[in-house]
């Protein structure tokens, strides 16, 4: 999946790195299920707008809605640059 752009978001905590990423393609079920190998995947297909979230071993959190072209990503405070590269690399493998 190609990342078209990402936008930094803020929350209550200084130093947090939260980004909203926009993709060229929507999050369909195969792509969502493919996230499982990054870490623990929760997929709530029965929600009014199905939601997924993933927590990876290296501190990456991803969440989004099925059928949309966006997701929200929280990068860890440590090894942030490396985790960002890892995220982009993994997304590029999803087709």
């Amino acid at each position: 999946m190609t990342i078209l752009y990402r936008c930094k978001l803020e929350d209550c905590f200084d130093g947090i790195a939260v980004y909203s990423s926009e993709f060229a393609d929507p999050w369909d079920e195969p792509r969502i299920q493919a996230l499982a190998w990054l870490g623990k995947l929760d997929y709530y297909a029965d929600f009014p707008r199905p939601l997924f979230r993933v927590a990876s071993a290296d501190g990456l959190f991803i969440k989004g809605l099925a059928g949309t072209t966006q997701c929200r990503v929280i990068f860890p405070r440590t090894n942030r640059a490396e985790t960002m590269r890892h995220f982009e690399s993994e997304m590029s493998k999803l087709d």
């Binding site: 929350d11 209550c12 029965d46 929600f47 009014p48 707008r49 939601l51 969440k63 809605l65």
Partner: protein
């Protein structure tokens, strides 16, 4: 005239900013924008001076002897800065405040503590979740110049019993400042009865007026230094900014359209406010009881019999606070607020540190169906 609601979503974030505004607000703002701009107090308008009307209504609400004691500001934060920075605190001066405060109190105090060396005592909560009167009494022995207390918590809705504390503080010669940002419009705020020398407030929460409105009540015996000076539109021949209230604290062009909207909100409140609040409190109670009955949901400050406003803070097992808000918002179309709610010290006291809470804050415009939908959404998250 009824409420104008256009959003196809459930709005449970009224503690941040009330929506929809009170009936009449939108029309009043639009009317002010459609007509030629006026300078309040100069008799330029052929119609009524809505700014003066608004000031009078607020004075009535706050128990002020005269409307001139109410200065308008763009927000409660602005008002609190005028009050705290305007007291002329000096190195070593002692200020008492509490863990329930918003950053609009904590940050001006922190700046003065770091910048000029004031001393700040932060009073915690007792075992019942009330402000710790014992600790407050001890702090009073250290000759405070200022006591700043939150009337109602924006995290828990708890209404603090400030009256007794303020009267003790005044007996100790301290100036008392009440942050009524959450309470005004929801709860009686009579400054003299509460022992508050100053009251800061906003117009866009309990009063259901427009954002960009707020103010500061200042009792006759308190004289604040001017933090901001400049254009007033009147008495331009003076070299210095006029010293009388309220213009003393009102530098810059007045936000007349927003104040016209706030005036309309206050007018609506005089007739329809009580029934609206009754509905709001009833729905908030339904929401609290409904959440309490869901396994895996933890309520904060859920003390039986506590006096509180109509909001509820909670968490859902297995869900980070921020994720809960995301799921409710994105999957269920429910707008709420998550995190620290700009009150960072309170969370250690109520057990919600470090990530805070999810907060639902309905209003009298919320429907029973919306409350049921919100409870069902939380139930499914908790399942």
């Amino acid at each position: 005239m009824g409420f104008v609601q256009t959003a196809p979503r459930i709005y449970l974030n009224n503690s941040a900013s009330a929506w929809p505004p009170a009936p009449g607000v939108i029309a009043a703002v639009a009317s002010a924008l459609e007509h030629l701009p006026v300078q309040p107090g100069r008799g330029e308008s052929s119609g009524a001076d809505v700014v003066a009307e608004c000031r009078q209504r607020l004075a009535n609400l706050l128990g002020a002897r005269s409307p001139e004691r109410v200065a308008f500001t763009p927000s409660a934060t602005h008002a609190l800065n005028l009050a705290i920075l305007g007291l002329g605190l000096k190195r070593g001066d002692h200020v008492i405040t509490s863990v329930t405060e918003h950053n609009s109190v904590l940050r001006p105090l922190a700046r003065l503590a770091d910048g000029i060396g004031i001393r700040v005592t932060v009073v915690g909560l007792d075992e019942h979740g009330d402000l710790d009167a014992g600790a407050f009494g001890l702090a009073l022995q250290d000759s405070p110049r200022l006591v700043v207390l939150n009337h109602a918590s924006n995290v828990t809705g708890r209404v603090n019993a400030v009256s007794a504390l303020f009267h003790k503080a005044k007996a100790a010669a301290a100036v008392t400042l009440l942050d009524a940002s959450q309470s005004l419009g929801h709860w009686p705020v009579n400054a003299p009865e509460l022992g508050a020398d100053m009251v800061s407030f906003t117009g866009h929460k309990g009063l259901r007026g427009p954002v960009g409105t707020g103010g500061l009540y200042v009792a006759e015996h308190v004289e604040l230094e001017q933090v901001m000076v400049g254009g007033t539109g009147v008495r331009s021949d003076l070299r210095l900014h006029p010293s009388e209230m309220p213009i003393r604290l009102e530098a810059g062009t007045s936000n007349v359209p927003a104040l016209a909207g706030l005036n309309a909100a206050l007018l609506w409140r005089e007739t329809d406010g009580p029934a609206f609040l009754e509905q709001e409190n009833r729905l908030a109670l339904d929401l609290r009881e409904g959440l309490r009955a869901i396994g895996g949901v933890r309520l904060f400050d859920d003390v039986p019999g506590a006096t509180r406003l109509g909001l509820v803070s909670f968490r859902v097992d297995g869900w980070e606070v921020e994720d809960t808000g995301y799921a409710l918002d994105q999957s269920y179309g429910i707008a709420c607020r998550t995190g620290l709610h700009c009150a960072p010290l309170l969370h250690a006291a109520i057990g919600s540190a470090p990530t805070g809470t999810v907060r639902f804050s309905p209003s009298g415009a919320t429907t029973e169906e919306e409350i049921a939908h919100a409870l069902e959404a939380v139930r499914r998250l908790a399942a």
